[in-house]
Symmetry: C2
Subunit: 349 residues, 2 copies
Amino acid sequence: MTASTPTGPAVPVAPSVSTQIHLASRPTGWPTPENFRTVRVDLPDLTPGQVRVANTFVSVDPYMRGRMNDVKSYVPPFAVGEAMTGGAVGEVVASTAESLPVGTTVLHQQGWRDVAQGDAAGFTAVTPVPGVADSAFLGVLGMTGLTAWVGLTTIASLRPGDTVFVSGAAGAVGSAVGQIARLLGAKRVIGSAGSAEKVRLLTERYGFDAAFNYQDAPVREQLPTHAPDGIDVYFDNVGGDHLEAALDVLNRDGRVALCGAISQYNTTEKTPGPDNMANLVKQGLTLRGFTVGFHLDQAGEYREKMGPWLRDGDVVTDETVIDGIDRAVDGFLAMMRGENVGKMVIRTR
Amino acid sequence: MTASTPTGPAVPVAPSVSTQIHLASRPTGWPTPENFRTVRVDLPDLTPGQVRVANTFVSVDPYMRGRMNDVKSYVPPFAVGEAMTGGAVGEVVASTAESLPVGTTVLHQQGWRDVAQGDAAGFTAVTPVPGVADSAFLGVLGMTGLTAWVGLTTIASLRPGDTVFVSGAAGAVGSAVGQIARLLGAKRVIGSAGSAEKVRLLTERYGFDAAFNYQDAPVREQLPTHAPDGIDVYFDNVGGDHLEAALDVLNRDGRVALCGAISQYNTTEKTPGPDNMANLVKQGLTLRGFTVGFHLDQAGEYREKMGPWLRDGDVVTDETVIDGIDRAVDGFLAMMRGENVGKMVIRTR
């Protein structure tokens, strides 16, 4: 032992610089590159029980827009002048924690940077699935897929034989919703998306029974033609006109899982709710909002289901990969504009 | 037996004329007396297995307004030119059914008339509660009370320690909601009503912890001052601004039971929903609509609970009684205008 190294076993310390994205100022409406700053930070030596992780992929997600505001919400806001956080997967490159030796693949919340470091308790070892990139832990095997799972099962109480409608269906959550619904016994799965190419993906790749482009005509006109017998479950990723259209055609005891409302994250004014709330009483409908963070206890059960589905090709996923931590903000903004197909991730290694 | 009486056991046949209220035309917006017609009908002799019932009280309820429209709903519309129907309680005055001898008190759906007649299967024998008028079977012991019970328990999943807010709290359903919530362990019960006198009733007679007059100032301003720690359950009898105000202050995992929306029964235009639906996601809220007709399986369990509460004075009720079937329409319209305190009933005997 020398004065310049930590106590404990010999530890490789490189890379010792972490490139991180800080929140420079709070955006009003749509974020711009000026709201962010790329900062290079020298990491301190590890203290006992810590790990240093070279991230392979970091996640950019719609909910992060909410954390850029200084308002009370289900997760605390990002602090101005500090590194943002979020999902990330990486490999342990230095460790003073027996439980997480060098080489372990770990899932954690120190995203928005290429190298993470901290107490081992903040990192969860995961077992890579053969043939599946580790970025899946940020998507269909992670919070994204769990969001679909929790929304369909716990929140919307999906039952075999249900007809399910999903908005934002070509997105990371939506494409998982459609495929999981089918695997859980849905009779018919209908999706909406914002381009002809995405609509084609829904029916040709993700196995939706019907799909439409919400830019072609009002959702309220299009949805009924694709749901001649009504719908039983609506998985809402967008709010607004889609929710209104769904409330028109929900059958008795219909259920809505409200999962964020990406169309409203950037609005600074209050927007009126659906004009047909009376249908809730008439049809005995249930609307339930949720955020996956309150349902993490289901993550283990979920991964046990989804791992084999993925491995066997029962569920297919797409992702849009942006290379380099320096382009993380570009990736985030592109995702907010809907330019991604499937989960948007930043490759950092 | 003589030629003028039916075969079978001796049957008293008087009264043989039924005074009934028919729907003459469908109202647009607020109903007027011209939409109704009083008709005297000669009843046919009983066939085997039937009863004739002299109604003591018939019910007028907000949901009946919906049945006057020709739209698909949870109950079929009233037919123009025929007698309307609804809750009624009366005494069997003639019977060819062994199960319901003369003198039995029965609850049934042939309201809007002073004498009812039909197969015994359409009438349910009930046991009068000592010291309680039979009109209670149309109110706190009947659909009205069951609506409060189902809404609080099945729909809103009331838990001991919850803070409960009720709108239309001085009404028949609302006053039952407040008192049942307290008996089931609510920590704090808050009510709104439309006059100073009703507000006084809420705190002085029905045991609400706090109450306010929604005419004094916007609900959105008044509710937070009465709910410093937020609310956990909102029992919605009115919709509109009350629902919006409740969504502002509902705590995490808060639940809303949507029970009709009397403020909107007479509107012919669609009205925008709450402007803060995003709170459903942020706070994990559940909005669930219901109509009591789909929960009648709970009526027995409910009456077993409420009978003793009523008898022992744990629950107090008020009713507004209008005398005479000829004034049933007046009573219905007065109820729609909110002029009643507690359940509005028509005394027909």
